[in-house]
Structures are given as structure tokens and as C-alpha cells.
């Protein structure tokens, strides 16, 4: 069973201790982002904070569990599939939702706004982590 694709993917994960590091980076970036909005607006640290959020979530996402067995591997794969579907559905529906909201609220502004890499990655990693944690709790 050592040569299966799932096992190869699992071998590319980083040790469990990185989960804590990811969490620390995530929460400190979140505090920085909030602080930046409230106190240090002139310093414009929001880009650093946003990338800190993503890096924290990424480390959290690819770090191993304490016991990385086949159930965890299955849940992890399911969570990546779920996150992929969420991002695709959101990306496809976003322009339509924007158009409808603009149409209902103010029909003079038919501005279909776009969103960048940060929003997509945040949604991808956020939905993956959320689904994975929920699934783990359901199997406790």
C-alpha cells in the first residue's frame, strides 16, 4: 500500500508541530489586520496581515495530525474536494449574485465586481479547514 497516490500525498505533508505555528501566524495576522484597520491605518500593514492569514491557514492545512491514519486521510481528501467545489460554485455564481444585488438595490450600478487571489485562496483554505475539523468532530 506504500505506493498509492494517497500515501504519496500524505508523505508530502509537514509535521504536526507546524499546525501550532500555522495557528500562531493565523491569529497574530488576524490581530494585525484588525489593529491595522483600527489604529495603524497609515502604516498599511493589511497586505502583510492578509498574506499572514493565508500562510497560517496553509501551514495548518498541510500539517499532519498526531496520528495520520487512513480515516484522517479519507477525511482530508473529502475536505479538499469539498473546498474545490465550494470555490468553483462560488466563482460561477458570484457574478450572477452581484448582478442581482445591484439590480435589486440600485439598477444604475450594474457593476459586477471581481475578486482577487486572496479571496479565492481564503475561501479555498477556509472551507477546507472548516470541513475537515467538522468531519473530525463527527468521527470522535
Amino acid at each position: 500500500m506504500k505506493n498509492t497516490i494517497l500515501n504519496k500525498l500524505a508523505n508530502h505533508q509537514i509535521p504536526n508541530s507546524f499546525k501550532k505555528i500555522g495557528g500562531i501566524i493565523f491569529f497574530s495576522s488576524f490581530i494585525l489586520l484588525v489593529g491595522n484597520q483600527l489604529f495603524f491605518e497609515k502604516l498599511n500593514l493589511s497586505i502583510i496581515a492578509k498574506y499572514g492569514l493565508l500562510i497560517g491557514m496553509f501551514l495548518w492545512s498541510i500539517s499532519k495530525e498526531k496520528i495520520e491514519d487512513e480515516l484522517i486521510l479519507k477525511l482530508r481528501m473529502q475536505s479538499y474536494t469539498f473546498a474545490f467545489l465550494i470555490v468553483v460554485i462560488f466563482t460561477l455564481l458570484h457574478p450572477l449574485m452581484n448582478f442581482l444585488v445591484d439590480f435589486i438595490i440600485d439598477d444604475n450600478k450594474s457593476n459586477i465586481s471581481d475578486y482577487g487571489d486572496f479571496e479565492i485562496l481564503w475561501l479555498l483554505l477556509g472551507s477546507q479547514l472548516w470541513f475537515f475539523e467538522i468531519q473530525k468532530r463527527l468521527h470522535k
Binding site: 500500500m1 495530525e65 496520528i67 491514519d69 487512513e70 480515516l71 479519507k74 473530525k136 468521527h139 470522535k140
Partner: protein, 66 residues
Amino acid sequence: MKNRLKIERAILDLTQEELAKKIGVSRQTINSIEKSKYIPSTSLALKLSKVFNKPVNDFFELDEEK
């Protein structure tokens, strides 16, 4: 898929944690198998078979409807 994992575990007087350690998985995995929330792989089923010293068919059974 129905299973008799809990009964077999009780016969050997093993806790979920002890059984999990013997076959190298987490306690959650044993719990999920016992509650039929998760169907184990062939290799895990064979490891369980080795611990219980019984063929896999003795503690895993397909549902009649399926």
C-alpha cells in the same frame, strides 16, 4: 456493512485505545468502524483479523439489502 468489532474487542478485553495502538490507527478510527461510520481498507481489516485471530468474514458482514 455490519460488524462485530465491539464484541470481538470485548472478548479480548481490549479498549478502543489499546486496539487502535495494536493496529496503528487512532481511537477515533476504531470508534468510527464500530459505529459503521467508516468502512476500513483491506489492509486494516486484515490487521484486525490478525489481532482477533479470526477471518475477516467473521466480524465484517455485508448488509443483506446491498
